[in-house]
Amino acid sequence: MSDALPPNSGFRTTGRSRRGEPWVWLTAAGLAIGVIMALGLFLLILLKGTASFWPRPIDVMEVRVAEGATEKIAGFVTQESTRSEPDGTEHREIQVFRGNKDIRPEAFVFIDEANIASRSRPEDLMWVERMEYGPGIIEPVALETPEGRIEAADPSFHDKLDAVIERSEQAREEILDIERHQIGRISRELEKHERAERSGEKTAQELAGRRAELQASFEKLQAQSGAIHDKLKETKLVGRTVDGADVSYTSDVLVRTFMPNAAGFFDRLGEALSRAGAFLSEDPREANTEGGVFPAIFGTVVMTLAMSFFVTPFGVIAAIYLREYASQGLMVQFVRISVNNLAGVPSIVFGVFGLAFFVYTVGGTVDQWFFADKLPTPTYGTPGILWASLTLALLTLPVVIVATEEALAAVPRGVREAALACGASKWQTIQRVVLPASLPGILTGVILAMARGAGEVAPLMLVGVVKLAPSLPIDSIAPFVHPERKFMHLGFHIYDLGFQSPDAEAAKPIVYATALLLIVVVVTLNLSAILIRNKLKKRFAVSSF
């Protein structure tokens, strides 16, 4: 090839003949398009994902709605488009997010740019995130506490507000602890009693005393959480929307506030980071369209780890068998091709199999053997995280087998022969020489399998993923690990929010952020696999003769 010729050899003209040169450029364009597509997509997700955390300034627009009448709208522009009317005129339209869903149900409004009379950015506008109805945009007026009223103009207003929010956050955690853990414990015990009664182990009279006790402590706990609630309700943030409506938020609904128009760059950066932190660590709110994705991250991680826990030993054993123990004939060749092809079988087919085999066949049998007292309510005979990780383990098995086989095959023959010549048995050779040498290769396979598993959604829809799981698969309630539970998943979160959510438009920022998170996870896994592989190649390049 012309590449191989030394530069300025004088023969370059041959390599640079005009014939066919346009085609070369066409192939160059193909590669360029491919690379642009790949990088462009990453960039798009990166931009859109990070932008969803960035606090944007809020515009106040005076919009002419009718002859002489104007309406004040505060919000930020989310989309711009050009719409052509049937009469041939073109209108620039902007879509504005104005929040305050408690006042008007439509959080988004379309405005014809021609109708905007004035635009301004008053510094005293506040962005308030609440437990319900999404964000609110208000002009703060005062903070009403039992100790007194603090006007917004007061210099200590913001510090006080922050303290109130912090306190309400703590109180919410307390309430959650009472409701989820303590009351949960009581209801679990009651459930146990009910089962004991149904199976005839104990009579209702025997249980009556304990039941009354539980009932009493349940009422006490309820009163406790009610008291915390009531205390929170005593403190209020009072404000006014730009069109003059008075609003007041009790402190139990306040999540975070920010003054986007008054903030400088570093304030914004801090707010963005804090929002990102909340996104990663908080539970979702309001049908997943607000709040964080922590349960989805947790579910994805647990599912992926469980999957690699299953797939690694089986994949490695199968590969060792195929490469080291099975006699290399037509049969093994056939098996190898089949396993290879299994990697190309659509993931949904694995999901279908998982549903039929793991959930209904294995799970149904487990239920009959061990959880017969709970039937007909299924325990394991319903989709859950265990079945999901087993299904994905099967899906990624070919990846691990193929990678391990390649790694085993790459161990030079001489190394094995040396071990055998030293008197090592076959297993000793494998254990002490072959496996250590091929470990990076196996690791690559496992990481690739994890990357594939983490990004897979379609089979999960059949075997255990849900849009909102009430509890995590691992928690502080005995037996701590709950493999039968359904779980949330980042990938499914994207699908569900984008396509099943009642308010897809409002959920968009969170979907982009989730997509970014998922891609970061998958790309990191892939990159590390590629890095390991590249290192590996170099090592064997040295060790071969």
Binding site: M1, D3, N8, T13, G15, R16, G20, E21, P22, V24, W25, L26, T27, A28, G30, L31, A32, I33, V35, I36, M37, A38, L41, I45, P86, F314, I317, A318, A326, I337, S338, N341, G344, G351, V352, F353, A356, F357, T361, L394, L397, S425, K426, G455, E456, V457, A458, M461, L462, G491, Y495, G498, F499, K508, A515, I519, V522, V523, N526, N534
Partner: protein, 754 residues
């Protein structure tokens, strides 16, 4: 004695037992584990197959006991929905109940029938209503109502509830035929009085008048005599179960169809299925939209109501023919669940499914049956002979609507105007008939794949050629992993971007996309053409293999120009003319349906094809690049040495040598595209269309499974059909991948020899 220092200990060369034992143990453990894993992997086929197989089983009918019926009780035979307590009714007699479990039966008198002579009976299995016509010209009915106690030893009890009697005003003589239709509120009774040419036929309309208290009172609204409209004396009268129509099979062989609508009963159609011969039997199927008629020669046909064209009235037409029955009285019992029915003549019985036209089971009855009934669940049927012998049979036929033809052939569904491929698995009403043709889904998968490949194949192959033939190794080390990472992008992210980001953008810019599709590749060709005419000194400043970087600005410019040119192109070529006002609007979205008659949707194949590129391009690129890179250096070097320029080397040596590898890359790309689920679910409209229109969506096999399987009841026909879809998908990809793999291995061997 001390051992000599140099003499080797003989045990030194012996391997320790533990090592040997462990070696053997591990050897077996790995064999066992390895074979186990491989078996488990192949178990996938078995388990999916196991769910599919029952779809193709014929019905299984076993004798399930006998019972004694009252002698000569062949008038009306009915059964409760659990199939435990059948009843026998002979005109004028009591209603006799006989439990199938054995034991004594009991008899209940029909109240209010004392002294009256019953001259006509008819049975409606939906409401369990026995309609009666009396000699004095009255018509009426009684209901047989069953109740079942709860608990383990549930018992079925029965009672007989009479309904009011209505004297017919028109006609004279005894009622000789009667039929009852009931839609809940409105009801009709059709009755014939007298016999021969003087017989009169009347439709009596009834309604439940709601009182302030109580259940309401059944009152007669009016009578409509239809004698004159009939072609001849009616021999069989059938009111549909929903009380909306009357069919009369007349002595001249024609069947007249009357529609009961409000106070009017109008004749809509008259058809003659057997060329003037009188049908031996005529009954409705479940749903009351189709009838089964049996001709004098035993030929059995299904006639259904359907619209010939969209604006036509619903008329009866022949939709299915069945194998002929023998001589003798024709038995008929329709299932109350689906479109199966039990029929037979002369002791021969068969269970048939109307939509598929298939005979599910055939056999001889042990007795000469005179009447038959299917229980509510379709799990048992009962036949009774004229002498009072009754036989019960159990039927196991959970999937009567399934079959090769139903899944892969055209089927004429009830109400349709012809045989079609259709997928519609669930519907609103009880009598909804699932339409389970996989063809629209297979078509959808192929359509989605085709549009995906249309875009990805050129890009991927061009990129592979450049990367393998021209790209310096140091750059390739970065570019190739970049493309590979692209293949690991979760498809749910791609699908989300396709549906919520790209689709709204492209919706209004179709002409721009078209312009870009032409401008971008053209710009690369022009650039190449122009470049080689530049002075060599200038060109030499740029290293070979950096063309892909240099072409980027050109591509960007061309793309931008194409994008901007879109509205201009739209205003010249894609002008929609509003038919109402005649105003012209330059809008492709409106122009396309007007010009081609096809629909335009936001989530269409164009969006899908582009987004699928992200999933498919890396797959094809990687494999094709490997195949091209592995072309032996000796071949390309020889070609260069003989004076071929770099494109000639590619075109005449690399591509032909690597062709089978490239082909296998295409097949694996196909496999990836056909099985892709999330992009298909999110970027297409998921409507099972069967047209190649690029501006609408599709419903693919994979998306269909993902969307419907969580909702499908376990073990139902729908559930199993989705599994069949998975099998089809699996076979498509597995075959493709295997062929590709074999091709690749061959290529590897070939390259080794060179």
């Amino acid at each position: 004695m001390h051992p000599q220092p140099n003499a080797p200990d003989p045990k030194r060369f012996e391997v320790s037992r533990a090592t040997l034992w462990f070696d053997r143990f591990m050897g077996w453990a790995i064999r066992f584990g390895g074979i186990g894993v491989i078996i488990a992997v192949f178990g996938i086929f078995y388990f999916i197959g196991k769910e599919v197989v029952p779809l193709f089983r014929a019905a299984d009918v076993e004798p399930a006991g006998k019972l004694e019926a009252p002698a000569a009780a062949t008038g009306v035979l009915g059964i409760d929905e659990w199939g435990e307590l059948p009843f026998f009714y002979q005109a004028g007699g009591p209603v006799a109940f006989r439990p199938v479990a054995g034991g004594d039966g009991f008899e209940l008198e029909v109240p209010g029938l004392e002294g009256a002579e019953v001259t006509a009976t008819a049975y409606d299995p939906v409401h369990r209503r026995v309609a009666l016509g009396l000699a004095d010209g009255r018509v009426g009915s009684f209901l047989v109502e069953y109740a079942r106690s709860h608990g383990d030893d549930a018992e079925v009890s029965a009672k007989v509830t009479p309904e009011p009697w209505f004297p017919l005003k028109s006609g004279a003589g005894p009622v000789t035929a009667v039929s009852y239709g009931d839609s809940g509120g409105g009801r009709i009774i059709v009755a014939k009085r007298g016999a021969g040419p003087d017989a009169t036929t009347t439709v009596l309309r009834l309604a439940m008048k709601r009182g302030l208290i109580g259940a309401g009172k059944l009152t007669a609204l009016g009578e409509v005599e239809i004698t004159t409209e009939l072609g001849a004396e009616p021999l069989i009268l059938r009111a549909s179960q929903n009380g909306s129509m009357v069919l009369a099979a007349c002595a001249n062989g024609e069947i007249d169809y009357f529609l009961a609508n409000g106070a009017e009963v109008t004749k809509r159609q008259s058809f003659s299925p057997f060329d003037g011969e009188v049908p031996r039997q005529m009954d409705y199927l479940f749903g009351g939209v189709s009838i089964i008629v049996t001709g004098p020669g035993g030929e059995q046909e299904q006639w259904s109501l359907f619209r010939e064209s969209e604006d036509a009235e619903r008329m009866f037409g022949l939709t299915q023919t069945f194998p002929p029955l023998g001589d003798g009285d024709v038995l008929f019992a329709a299932s109350q669940r689906n479109r199966t029915f039990l029929t037979g003549a002369g002791g021969h019985l068969s269970i048939r499914h109307s939509t598929s036209g298939k005979t599910r089971w055939e056999g001889e009855a042990e007795i000469a049956p005179a009447a038959a009934v299917l229980d509510g669940k379709g799990e048992h049927f009962l036949v009774v002979s004229a002498s009072g012998e009754a036989r019960r049979y159990s039927v196991e036929d959970p999937h009567p609507e399934a079959g090769w033809k139903a899944f892969f052939g055209k089927v004429w569904y009830e109400g349709g105007s012809g045989p079609v491929y259709q997928w519609q698995s669930t519907g609103g009403s009880d009598d909804f008939e699932p339409k389970l043709s996989l063809m629209p889904l297979i078509f959808g998968s192929l359509k989605g794949t085709a549009y995906a490949l249309l875009f990805s194949v050129p890009v991927a192959l061009l990129a592979a050629v450049f990367s393998a033939a021209f790209l310096p190794l140091s750059v390739k080390r970065i570019v190739k992993p970049t493309m590979e990472i692209m293949s690991s992008l979760p498809s749910v992210v791609l699908g989300f971007l396709a549906g919520l980001w790209l689709a709204p953008i492209l919706e209004t810019r179709v002409p721009s996309v078209m312009a870009m599709l032409i401008a971008v590749p053209a710009s690369a060709l022009v650039m190449g053409f122009a470049w080689c005419r530049l002075p060599i000194r200038f060109r030499n400043r740029f290293a070979n293999g950096s063309e892909w970087m240099m072409v980027v600005p050109v591509l960007a410019l061309a793309g931008w120009l194409g994008w901007q040119a879109g509205p201009l192109i739209e205003s010249i070529f894609f002008v929609y003319q509003d038919p109402a006002t005649g105003r012209e609007i330059a809008d492709f979205r409106l122009w396309w349906p007007q010009a081609t008659g096809l629909s335009f949707e936001q989530r269409n194949s164009l969006v899908l094809g582009f987004m699928m590129g992200f999933a498919v391009i890396p797959v094809i690129f990687t494999i094709a690049e490997d195949a091209l890179s592995n072309v032996p250096k000796s071949l390309t070097a020889a070609s260069s040495a003989l004076g071929a320029n770099r494109w000639q080397v590619v075109w005449t040596v690399m591509l032909p040598v690597a062709s089978s590898g490239i082909f296998s890359a295409l097949m694996i790309g196909f496999g990836r595209a056909v099985g892709e689920t999330m992009i298909m679910v999110m970027a297409t409209g998921n409507t099972p269309v069967t047209e190649w229109n690029i501006f609408n969506g599709m419903r693919t096999l994979s998306a269909n499974i993902a969307v419907e399987l969580p909702e499908a009841p376990v073990g139902s026909t729908h559930y199993r059909t989705l599994f069949l879809g998975a099998v089809v998908l699996f076979l498509m990809t597995f075959v493709m991948n295997t062929v590709a793999e074999v091709l690749r291995q061959r290529l590897r061997e070939k390259n080794k020899i060179v």
